[in-house]
């Protein structure tokens, strides 16, 4: 199992641009975005991705009813050599632990997950959040041996491309934790 990665604490007044994240997603060769809506990433990420879905060179958006479906869809796509990103909320991540355990970890598949952290306080690292549902996310990922990266400011966006590349090169899952609402 690979060690997990955390970035430095970001200031509350820092900012995150959805356009920067989408640029990284596209540069990483992502052809499909599979998603259940998440309020953290709704306007800055999912909305523009949905508006561009289906156009030439743009990732196709596949809306799913439940997040663990997305784990299976991304697995099937990976066998075809097609890259995908599962865009969800941490509640969906927690709900999908068995699918992630079986499909992503035990089968060693490059399931790339971008996870909005609902109600995480800006500038506070997730494990120090007052929200139990936020605090437990990184320890759960560590227990599962899944690499994760915090993406809370523009300085963190540069982690996205290499994280996706590494996931596919090393055939293992990765989680990108979105710590504030991208504008």
């Amino acid at each position: 199992m690979q060690p997990s990665v955390s970035t430095a604490i970001r200031a509350p007044e820092d900012f995150l641009l959805g356009s920067s994240i989408i640029r990284e997603i596209k540069a990483s060769g992502i052809e499909f975005v599979v998603s259940v809506p998440d309020i953290t990433t709704s306007e800055g990420l999912l909305r523009p991705l949905s508006q561009e879905s289906g156009k030439d060179t743009e990732p196709r958006l596949i809306r799913v009813c439940k997040e663990d479906e997305g784990v299976g869809i991304c697995a099937g796509l990976s066998y075809c050599g097609r890259r995908s990103l599962l865009l969800i909320q941490q509640t969906g991540l927690l709900d999908s632990i068995n699918a992630i355990r079986g499909v992503a970890v035990e089968y060693a598949l490059p399931i790339c997950m971008m996870v909005g952290l609902l109600e995480k306080e800006p500038g506070v690292v997730p494990r120090q959040s007052k929200r139990y549902g936020v605090r437990i996310v990184e320890p759960v990922l560590e227990a599962m041996g899944i690499t994760y990266h915090e993406v809370e400011g523009e300085a963190d966006v540069g982690h996205i491309g290499p994280a996706i590349e590494t996931a596919y090169a090393q055939m293992r899952p990765v989680v990108l934790l979105i710590g504030r609402r991208p504008s």
């Binding site: 196709r60 439940k66 299976g72 796509l77 075809c80």
Partner: protein, 189 residues
């Protein structure tokens, strides 16, 4: 009521070496003996996810037919996938459900709603393009060729008898060699 292996043999006669097939649990063990192929996708990682893996494969390889042989208990765990598949509308996805009313691989207990649940009704409401319901083997044999010529997503409910509890060697489905063989075969085809 039909026997599962009779249905699978009838289906296998209409497939080509290029088709991808995702069988689950008890069906998988019957299937890999009836139609051994590296393009059998056997490792689903968690119960219920076969239809979702199938959607990924169908989207990723639109040049191939993708056939999922689901179970009724498995599909109940992932009913939302019917809606997702109906919305994504992959023309190359064929979704069969072997409906025997039991969790055959987990002790033969009845599924919730046994004899009440309407799987074809679910599929129809979810937006599958064509929906079939079979309980007679002769009719299934007559129509399976035409079914596989339809534009998907296609759904077919197969009313089958339970085979009863069986001991199975799951390493035949979940071993790393199975997944590598599938990956290599898919990339080469």
């Amino acid at each position: 009521m039909m026997k599962r292996d009779d249905c699978l043999k009838a289906l296998a006669r209409h497939l080509t070496d290029a088709d991808i097939v995702l069988p689950v649990y008890s069906t998988a063990f019957d299937w890999i003996d009836i139609r051994p192929s590296p393009l059998n996708y056997l490792s689903h990682g968690a119960m219920g996810l076969a239809s979702s893996h199938a959607l990924g494969l169908a989207l990723g390889r639109p040049d191939k037919r993708v056939i999922v042989l689901d179970g009724d208990g498995s599909l109940l765990m992932n009913l939302g996938s019917l809606v997702t598949i109906g919305a994504a509308a992959p023309p190359n996805l064929y979704h069969f459900v072997c409906e025997n009313g039991t969790y055959e691989a987990n002790g033969g207990h009845p599924i919730p709603g046994r004899d009440k649940v309407d799987f074809p009704g679910f599929a129809r409401a979810a937006g599958y393009r064509v929906v079939f319901d079979f309980s007679d083997l002769k009719i299934f044999e007559q129509r399976i060729g035409a079914l596989l010529a339809e534009t998907g997503p296609v759904f077919a409910d197969l009313k089958i008898a339970s085979s009863g509890p069986q001991e199975r060697d799951y390493s035949r489905l979940h071993g790393p060699h199975v997944r590598k063989a599938f990956r290599d075969a898919l990339m080469a085809s």
